[in-house]
Every structure is written in structure tokens, then in C-alpha cells.
């Protein structure tokens, strides 16, 4: 099956039963698959009037107690930004899959890009932390959609899947595990009495148990800065308390959230960092470099946000050079440069989207870096 269909199957396997969306290439096949599959499982599929409403609908469904998601690509992702912020502020579990195409604007609808990395991080206004994952294959679309739901349910926020056109439209073998072998995490429920429940009173790890609408608990949900009751609190102290917790629940748990796959790092002199479809080209380049006797290694980012800051910091001093391979003019490379902090030279192998990176381009950069040139 293709990556988009695998995303749908992963969502259904982890218990998603509500999808609202607006079709857009190259994410349409997720919506199509959902429209076919959800009714079979007693779920609900709604095609909304646009992506703003789609995002609003999945937030509402989540508060109704149903795991929900939407899918889109660049132009729709832009429209979702405001309500992604609402989801973050109201701590609403849900999943947004952005199958990236080349932008800006309508750009190249049928060609891959990875230009929305920073938009996923900072696209909604205000200060916040986000979780974003990046799959490299249809199998990872399945696996990471499951993980995205689990993270969103646990940490209570919209989790973003940053796929791309090639991964979404590529057909490959996908192995679907037995039901019992799929880990499913559900949102934490209140353990106190109805009288004592405060919807935004956090446990020690910064996460508040969530009562759904209709569970009988008093809840109040607003995008305004709010106190533990969920009521608007229009002052700097409440803002400080609320945002500290929103940021802290992710930042303080980043070791549990961050996931990378590391290849040949032990003796690597040139370390390539990449994600999504570009990580496959990078893997080919690293293996070709090894065959030529160059000590190359690869860090494949499975989580994009939070960024694996500590790992990059620890690798950089031992490396001759580090290379970021991505389908944009340089986005994650900025984050990498920040973490490397001058400990080794950093370079970018990228394009503005439209075609995936040829392994030889990355191999060329590895060879150059191994010879001490960047």
C-alpha cells in the first residue's frame, strides 16, 4: 500500500474514529482511505468546507472523547495554523498529517518538498513546544501515526506528522502487526471526585488528566490564557504559569519523546543528519561512502521536534564535519548549526523541493568533507 493509506491504517489501528479534512494533493489518499474505512468501524468521516474548519472539527471531536485526526499539505497546513495553536493552548490530543509538497503557495502539488519544518515548529502565534515526526517509508507512516496518537494522548497536544509527497505516494510492503502487539496509550482520566476536579491542574509531570465533554466533570475550554479551572485569567502571572507548563511538559520529557536511528556513528568522521525521504538518499550515500573507505555515519531523525539537541552536541566534537540533507533551502540545518555551536563545520545538501535528493549529491558532500573541505 502507499504511505497515505498506511497512515490511515495506523490511525485506525490505534483507535482513531474521527477524521475531518479537505482533500489536497498529495494527502488526498489519506482522506479517501478514511472515508472508506471509518464507516466500516463505526467512525465518522467529514469532508469540511476548508482546513480551518477541519482543524476545528478534530479539536471538538477530541473533546468529545474520540481520537481524531486530519491530513493536508502545505496550503492547508497554513490554514490550520491558528487552530493548531488553539489545540496547544487547550491541550487537545489530535494528529495532523502534513504530506509536504514543494512551496511556497500552491507550488508543485505533485512533487515532494520538506519546506514546512519550521512552520510546524513556529507556524502558530505565541510561544509553545510542539511534537513532530518524520516518516521515510509507508511502513513508518503506519508506525509513526500510531506513535503520533500515543504522544498526543499522553502529552495532550496536536502532534504533527511531517511526511512528503514521495513517502505518501510510494507503494511498498507494509507489515501490520497483530492487534495485541500494538501499543495504545489513552489520555489520562481524572481520579478525583467531580467536586475536586480542576481541568488544568497538572500531575507532577506537568500533564493534566482530561475529562471529556459528557463525562460529568465540570470543564471549561478556551484559547484565552486560563487558570487551573480553565477560566480566562487575564494577567501576566497566569500567562507565566500556563505557558511554563505547556512548554515544560514537552521540554522536560524530551528524552522520552525524542527518537533517532543512528547508523555507523561509532567511528564516523563525517556525520549526515537527515529525515523523511531524504534520509533514504542519505543512507545510500553513507553506505556508498563506507564502500569507498570513508568513515561516514547517519543520524536519521524520527522526531523532528523536539530536536535531538544533546545528541548533536555530543557527536559534533568527534566529527570532522556534519551535513544536513533536506528538501529545502536550509531549515533543520539552522537548528543543527545552533547545537553544533562551532564544534565542527556544518553544511547543507538541499534543494527547494520538486525532486528528491540524489544519493550522489550527498556522497559528493561527504567525500569533500572527509578531505577537510566544506
Amino acid at each position: 500500500m502507499n504511505g497515505d493509506e498506511a497512515c490511515c491504517e495506523g490511525a485506525l489501528a490505534v483507535g482513531c474514529r474521527f477524521f475531518a479534512g479537505y482533500p489536497i494533493t498529495p494527502a488526498t489518499e489519506i482522506a479517501e482511505a478514511m472515508s472508506r474505512r471509518l464507516p466500516q468501524l463505526g467512525g465518522i468521516y467529514i469532508q469540511m468546507e476548508d482546513e480551518i474548519a477541519s482543524m476545528a472539527a478534530i479539536l471538538g471531536a477530541s473533546w468529545g472523547g474520540v481520537k481524531s485526526m486530519t491530513s493536508t499539505s502545505g496550503p492547508g497546513f497554513s490554514l490550520m495554523m491558528e487552530n493548531i495553536g488553539l489545540g496547544i493552548c487547550t491541550e487537545t490530543p489530535c494528529v495532523v498529517c502534513n504530506v509536504q509538497r514543494a512551496g511556497p503557495s500552491t507550488g508543485l502539488p505533485t512533487a515532494a518538498g520538506q519546506g514546512d519544518m519550521m512552520q510546524a515548529r513556529w507556524g502558530s502565534h505565541g510561544h509553545y513546544e510542539i511534537i513532530a515526526l518524520s516518516p521515510s517509508s509507508p511502513q513508518e507512516m503506519f508506525d509513526m501515526t500510531i506513535r503520533a496518537f500515543n504522544l498526543s494522548e499522553y502529552y495532550r497536544l496536536p502532534v504533527i506528522i511531517l511526511a512528503d509527497e514521495v513517502v505518501g505516494h510510494m507503494n511498498e510492503r507494509v507489515i501490520i502487526p497483530r492487534e495485541d502487539d500494538i501499543e495504545i496509550i489513552n489520555r489520562r482520566k481524572p481520579t478525583v471526585s467531580r467536586e475536586d476536579y480542576l481541568p488544568y491542574e497538572a500531575d507532577a509531570d506537568g500533564i493534566s488528566p482530561m475529562a471529556n465533554c459528557g463525562d460529568g466533570y465540570r470543564i471549561h475550554v478556551t484559547g484565552l490564557t486560563h487558570d487551573e479551572r480553565g477560566y480566562p485569567a487575564m494577567n501576566a502571572k497566569a500567562q507565566e504559569q500556563m505557558v511554563t507548563r505547556l512548554v515544560g511538559k514537552i521540554r522536560n520529557n524530551r528524552d522520552k519523546i525524542i527518537s533517532t536511528k543512528n547508523f555507523y556513528l561509532d567511528d564516523a568522521e563525517v556525520v549526515v543528519v537527515s529525515y523523511g525521504i531524504s534520509a533514504r538518499s542519505s543512507m545510500k550515500a553513507v553506505r556508498d561512502a563506507r564502500a569507498e573507505g570513508i568513515k561516514a555515519g547517519l543520524i536519521k531523525l524520527e522526531t523532528i521536534w523536539p530536536f535531538p539537541e544533546e545528541l548533536i552536541r555530543s557527536i559534533a566534537p568527534q566529527a570532522k564535519a556534519m551535513i544536513m540533507a533536506e528538501l529545502n533551502g536550509g531549515q533543520m540545518v539552522l537548528e543543527m548549526e545552533r547545537c553544533v555551536g562551532g564544534a565542527c563545520p556544518v553544511s547543507l545538501v538541499g534543494n527547494y523541493g520538486g525532486a528528491i535528493l540524489h544519493p550522489n549529491l550527498i556522497l559528493g558532500a561527504i567525500s569533500k568533507a572527509a578531505r577537510g573541505k566544506t
Binding site: T110, V166, H169, M170, N171, E172, R173, S281, R287, P359
Partner: protein, 196 residues
């Protein structure tokens, strides 16, 4: 020992001919029934039908990292535009396959291994030109065996609507028989049409 060499196939034509479906069936047959690795990626424009489109299939005994087919060893052309655009990418020792009625090749192409079949005409004779892609798959299975023909047949049966299963099987067999006869020298292929 499994064949670890990657086989690169490019199937080209225009939107609506089932180009992507043909690639999908080929990859699925390799993966699900022949237990190999396969990737299928697609290229198409913003039009729903009529625009140039292609599907790129890689079949291998090993994990496939880079999924693009840049220099195919087998190129299937179902339209003149697709032929003109892609023939330059075919490897020198490659195999060029086309629809006899839809593509006029150049005489200089004859240094490739060449095969052609009036797949669209045959499909029309069997009821609908929509099955030209399946005729072509049958033909391909005879002239360039990439996967077992039984695997292809099973995959076609899994992939087409119930009421069309029999017709699609006929279409596959028609293409395969034509290809087999040509390989065995039992029939002479129709005269290819060349560009001026």
C-alpha cells in the same frame, strides 16, 4: 541465492491509461507473492486525466533505499509524448516496449531490445481500452519476466473490480500469449511505425 540486483522499470503514458495501476500491480506481485522488495513511485501533473504520467518500479532482493528510476533498464511507452520524453533515459542495453498503434519510434532505437504490441487495440477488442495496461502487463511478463506470471495474475485479481475480473484475466492472457509467440518466433510482430 535471491537476485540482489535492482531491476529498474519505467512505465509511461498519460493519465487515465492505468499507468500507475500497472506499476502498482507489478510491485505488489513482486512483494506479496514473489516475496521480494519493491517500491513504486509515480510522476504526474496537476491534471486528473490526459497529462503525462509515469510509474517507476524497482524490484530487488534487498532493501531499496533510493526509490527513483533515472536510467531504466525496461521502458514501457503507452503514448508518443511519453516515448519522446523518456526514451533518452533508457540504458544502452535496455529493453524498449511500446504500444504499436500509439507510438512511432525512431529507426535508431533498434539497437535496444525492442518489443511492441497493439495493447490498446487488443483491449478494445476484448471490450474496453481501459484494460490496455493489463494487456501490456501480460506482454511484459512474456518478454521480460520480472515476476512470476501467476503472481501477476493473482495481483490483478486482487486489484480489479469483481465484475471485470474475467475480462482482465483475458486481457492479461492475450498480452502474454502475444509476447510468448513473438519470443518463440511463432508470429512475426507487426511492422513498427517509425517517425520521419
Amino acid at each position: 541465492m535471491p537476485d540482489k540486483r535492482e531491476r529498474h522499470i519505467l512505465i509511461t503514458g498519460f493519465g487515465g491509461q492505468g499507468i500507475v495501476m500497472a506499476g502498482d500491480i507489478l510491485g505488489k506481485a513482486a512483494t506479496l507473492y514473489d516475496h521480494k522488495h519493491a517500491t513504486m513511485t509515480q510522476n504526474y501533473g496537476p491534471e486528473a486525466r490526459g497529462g503525462a504520467c509515469s510509474s517507476q518500479v524497482i524490484i530487488s532482493g534487498e532493501e531499496i533505499l533510493f526509490p527513483s528510476v533515472e536510467e531504466p533498464e525496461i521502458l514501457v511507452c503507452m503514448s508518443q509524448e511519453a516515448y519522446t520524453k523518456n526514451v533518452k533515459s533508457l540504458r544502452p542495453e535496455g529493453t524498449l516496449i511500446w504500444d504499436t498503434d500509439l507510438v512511432h519510434t525512431r529507426k535508431t532505437d533498434m539497437h535496444y531490445k525492442t518489443f511492441h504490441i497493439p495493447s490498446t487495440r487488443f483491449a478494445e477488442q476484448l471490450g474496453t481500452k481501459m484494460m490496455a495496461n493489463i494487456v501490456m502487463l501480460g506482454f511484459l511478463s512474456a518478454v521480460e519476466p520480472l515476476v512470476h506470471s501467476e503472481a501477476l495474475k493473482k495481483t490483478i485479481m486482487d486489484s480489479v473490480p469483481g465484475s471485470t475480473k474475467d475480462n482482465n484475466l483475458h486481457a492479461f492472457n492475450k498480452g502474454r500469449e502475444y509476447g510468448t509467440s513473438i519470443i518463440k518466433g511463432l508470429v512475426k510482430a507487426e511492422q513498427a511505425k517509425h517517425q520521419e
